[in-house]
Amino acid sequence: MRTFFTVTWLTLAALFAAGCEATKTVSPLITNYDQQNATADLDYWHGLAEQPITTNNDAFHGLIELAVAPAPGSTPGNADTCKTYDERVAWLKDHQYLDASFDRPADEAARRGTVAQIICRIKKIDGGLTMHVLGANPRYATRELVYLRIMRPGTEQQALSGMEFVGIVGKAQDYEGVIP
């Protein structure tokens, strides 16, 4: 009887733990293309818009492009010099766009809160009183971008489709400190 209880509860615990796991997917997009390859850059952005889920690797590549303004006169293309996901995470942490504690895998669905936090730091969006006090944590960064109409309503834990992510980056690119 005791063994039966143990097995039952272990099974339940395993199933509940698996149920809390974040969405993972294999992205077909290429993110380590040559910096001068303008067509590959456009293939990335417009291919991403057709993906049902934006992975961390796809999101971080796009956000680094948002952060890095190309040098004047340079060939338009890829501004992300990182070739791997680990390099992208390190780059974002070095520039303090991403929390040092971030440790999610490349193929996991990017969360709205993580994306919002990075965008707020890239665009220097200070937000209201709470963000001034607590900094751009995922929860309040998401709420701030919803307020600014850069993001559509939702929570910081949700995943992003490719179309949503491309739309958010586009609106962030438009943001010039003016409330819409």
Partner: protein
């Protein structure tokens, strides 16, 4: 008896958990199993025999931008002064922008991260007919009166905007946002969503701006607020919005904004 009850209890929770686990951890199908991408912007219908074909001329290009003549053609960089035929597809990068003269009456700025198709462009008697299909991205439009009737439309995956003659912006991603100038008059912008519901938009109707209490936007959310479903497709729970007016004193452009999300509901009264 007690053992049977425990077994039933365990089986129930195991089934429940398995369902939750499957919903959250199933890898997204790719390749042949992948669901079709989001419904494309209304594919441009080949124009019927035109009285007089018109042209689209590239006035200026900034940043990364490419075009192709059809979906079997290779992408090529867009250069200034190029002529783009009906059916041409354009796409821009994160800092790309293309300024177009579309026929004699329309100035179009194809802005960042936009995918657009020139669907129709013709002079039909005394009417200039233009249809642009914006899959996603942002375009700035300025439609002039040049002695003809304007039949200018921009189709997005969530609806179609018709413009009689004014200036504004259209942004399309999981929904469509339209921002028109405050001096729009006579229902200058008309938006029909994917449910077939039509709304006329007149800039002067804004109660916020007529009241003189604010100097900025009047904002009307006419679609559903899309809060996503947690699976990344952003097409889940929708909370109807009643289209409340809201003022904003920090905007200097004195514009109005219409925002619709996917799927649009019956909309508000602009």
């Amino acid at each position: 008896m007690n053992r049977t009850r425990i077994a039933v209890f365990a089986a129930f929770f195991a089934a429940f958990s398995a369902a939750a686990s499957f919903a959250q951890t199933s890898p997204t199908p790719t390749g042949a199993d992948a669901p079709p991408p989001a419904a494309p912007a209304a594919p441009p219908t080949p124009a019927p025999a035109a009285d007089k074909p018109l042209t689209t001329t590239v006035a200026a290009v900034t940043g990364n931008a490419e075009y192709r003549l059809n979906d079997k053609d290779a992408w090529k960089p867009i250069v200034a002064d190029a002529q783009l035929p009906v059916g041409a597809e354009l796409r821009t990068g994160i800092r790309g922008e293309v300024k177009l003269q579309v026929g004699p009456n329309a100035h179009i700025d194809v802005e960042r991260l936009t995918y657009m198709v020139i669907g129709q462009l013709q002079q039909d008697g005394d009417t200039l007919r233009t249809l642009l299909a914006v899959q996603h991205g942002k375009v700035h439009f300025k439609i002039d009166h040049v002695g003809f009737r304007n039949d200018f439309k921009i189709a997005t995956p969530t609806g179609t905007m018709a413009v009689k003659g004014t200036e504004g912006d259209l942004t399309s991603d999981t929904g469509t946002d339209i921002t028109g100038n405050e001096d729009n008059g006579g229902n200058a912008i008309n938006y029909t969503d994917s449910n077939g519901d039509t709304n006329n938009y007149t800039g002067g109707d804004s109660t916020d701006n007529q009241g003189g209490t604010t100097t900025g936007n009047s904002s009307q959310d006419t679609g559903n607020s899309n809060t996503g479903d947690g699976n990344g497709n952003g097409s889940g729970q929708n909370s109807p919005d009643t289209g409340a007016l809201g003022g904003n004193t920090s905007n200097e452009n004195s514009q109005q904004q219409i925002q619709t999300n996917t799927p649009p509901n019956e909309g508000g009264d602009y």
